[in-house]
Symmetry: C2
Subunit: 358 residues, 2 copies
Amino acid sequence: MGPGPSLTYPEVYEAMARPTLGHLDPYFIEIMDGIKEMLQAVFRTKHSLTIPVSGTGSAGMETVLVNLIEPGDPVLIIINGVFGKRQLDIAQRLGAEADALEFTWGKPVDPDTVAQSLKNRKYKIVSMVHAETSTGVCNPAEEVGELVASRGDGAFYLLDTVTSLGGMEVDVDGWKVDAVYSGTQKCLSCPPGLAPVSFSQRAVDSIMNRRTKVPNWYLDMSMVANYWAGKKRAYHHTAPINMLYGLYQALYLVLDEGLEKVYRRHTRAHEHLVEGLEKLGMSMVVEPPYRLPMLNAVRIPEGIDDAEARKRLRYEHNIEIGGGLGDFAGKVWRIGLMGNTARPEHVDRLLKALKAII
Amino acid sequence: MGPGPSLTYPEVYEAMARPTLGHLDPYFIEIMDGIKEMLQAVFRTKHSLTIPVSGTGSAGMETVLVNLIEPGDPVLIIINGVFGKRQLDIAQRLGAEADALEFTWGKPVDPDTVAQSLKNRKYKIVSMVHAETSTGVCNPAEEVGELVASRGDGAFYLLDTVTSLGGMEVDVDGWKVDAVYSGTQKCLSCPPGLAPVSFSQRAVDSIMNRRTKVPNWYLDMSMVANYWAGKKRAYHHTAPINMLYGLYQALYLVLDEGLEKVYRRHTRAHEHLVEGLEKLGMSMVVEPPYRLPMLNAVRIPEGIDDAEARKRLRYEHNIEIGGGLGDFAGKVWRIGLMGNTARPEHVDRLLKALKAII
C-alpha cells in the first residue's frame, strides 16, 4: 500500500513464469501486437506509436524528453512535486532552455498562470505531471492540454501518467496529449520494469526530422519503433520478454473488468480510506476536489515517529506504506490504492493496523 | 538455441513469480546485496560498484559509455562485428571524438594493430567486445587490457561481456577492465531485462568528477549507486523487483554449479555441436582457436533458403536458431549454447532436426 509497486495480480505472476520466447519469434510478435492494441485502449488513443519501453517509469520520462528535445529548445516544465522537478533535471541535461513554472506542493497547477506563461514565450514543449505521486495532487490535464492546443503555435504537450494510468480517467486523444508515459507497477498492477509510452503523429514526425541524432541509443524511438511497429520488425535490443507477458496479462485484466468499473473501484476505496483516516483524527494534505484516488497523502499525527511507525506497520502488520519525498519527508505518509490494491478489505486492514499503532 | 534469450532455468521462473516487494523494503535490500556479491564473483572483481542496471544488455552498453564519455573525449572503439559498431554509434551520439579501429568480421582483433593505434593517439577510453554475438568470435580481452594498462596514460578499458559472462572465463580484475557490462538472457539463463555492470574505483572517481552532468538521468551511476550501494539507499527509480528475484536465483545456480564446471559444460556442448555440424557437411565461420563456445556461427549450406529453413526448425521441431546480422545476413546461422541451453541433449536434438531439413 505504498506509492507503487502495488499488489501484482496472481495471473500476472503466472504469465511472467511462462517459457521465454525469442524476441523475434512469430508468436511473441503476436503478443507485442496485443500489448500495443490494449495500451491504446487504456491510454484512450489512436496513436499508432503506443508501446512499452524496456525500462521502469523513469525510463518512460527519459524517453519522451530525450526524443523530443534538441539542444537549445525552449521547454516549459510545470512543477508541483518531485516528478515535475525530475522532468526539469532531465530537460536541462539534454541542453533545453527550460523554464520552470512552480506551484505549491500539495496544491494543483493553476491553468490561468500556465496561460500567462504561454503568452510570454513560444515553447516547443509544455510538460506536466497528471498525478503527482509525491503529493497526491491531481493536476488539470485536460485544461492545460486545451491551453497548449489553443495557442496554435505547434507546441507539443507532454504528460506524465505514471500513477494515474489504469486508475482514473486518462484520455490522451481527448486531452490533445502529444507524448505520454506511464509505468506498469502502479494501477496496472504488474511488477515494475516497463514504461508504456505513446506519441502523436506530429510528435513522431518531429522525431524523424531531428537536426541531431537522439543522444540515447537505447531509447531512440526512431529505431525502437521499427522493432515494435515496423513492417520488418528489425531487431533493435532484446526485449524483456517475460515482463511483457506480465504486462499483456495485466492489461487484459484491466480491460476485462472495464475501465469505468476499475476507476470506480479506485474512487470507492479512496473514499473509504479517507473516511477511516479522518475518524482516526488524521488530516489529508490535499483539498477534496484535487485528491488522487490512488495516492493518498496524509499528515503524520503529532508525536508519532515516521520511521518507527512504518517499521511497525511492516513488521507487525505486513503492510507497506510510503514516506514523504522531498519537502514532505518526515511530515507525510503516502498510502497507495493502486490497481489490485484498491479494495475495501485492504483499506480495512490498514485502518485497523494504524489504529493499533497511533 | 538462438543468440539469446537462452532457456531460462525453471527455478528462475519460480523466483520471478514470488510476491512483489517494495523497492525500499528491508528484505528486498538484502536481495540486492546478495545480487551484488554474486555478480562480483561471476565477473571476478572486487569493484564495489557492481550492480545490475534496469534495462536489457544494450542499456548496459549505454550505461558505461554515457557515464564515462564527455563531449570531445578521445575514444578508441575496436570493431569486428555489430556490437562494436553499436558502441561507436553511441559514443558518437555522446559527442566523443571516436576513432574506429576495424577488423574483418569473423576474425579476432589483432593486439599488435591495437598497440599501434595506442601509440598514435592518447585516448581517454579504449573499448572492445569480448564475445562478438554477431560473428561468434572471441577477442583477446586479456591482451588488450594489458596493452591499455601498459601505456600508463590512465586510459579506461571498457569491455562488452554480454555473451561471454557466465559461459567462459571473464576476469575483470585480472584483465584490468575499468568498465564492463553484460546481459541476463545469455549464459546466466535469466530472461532479458537487466544489465549487470561493474566500474573500477578509478572509473567511479572519474564519473564523480565530470565537468558536465551525465546526459542520461535514468542511467546516471552517480545517483543509481546511491540506491544500490549508498548508506541511505536513497530512492532513484523503482527497481524491476521481480526481474531481480530472477537474477538472484540465476546467479545462485551458476555459482552453485561452479564457474569452472559451467565453463567446461559450455566447451563440451560446443565441441559436440561442431563435430555434428561438420558431419553434416557444414563449415564454421570462425577458425578453431577463436571460436566462442556459446555462439556458433556456421555457414548456411548452398541451396538452402535461410528464412524457410529456420521457419521449419521453429514450426516442425520447436527449435529457434538465429540468422546472420549485418554483413552476415542470409549467409550465416548463429546457434546459441548459452547457460541452461548448453547441454548435449539439446545439441543432439538440433543436429537431428538439421539433418531432416538440409
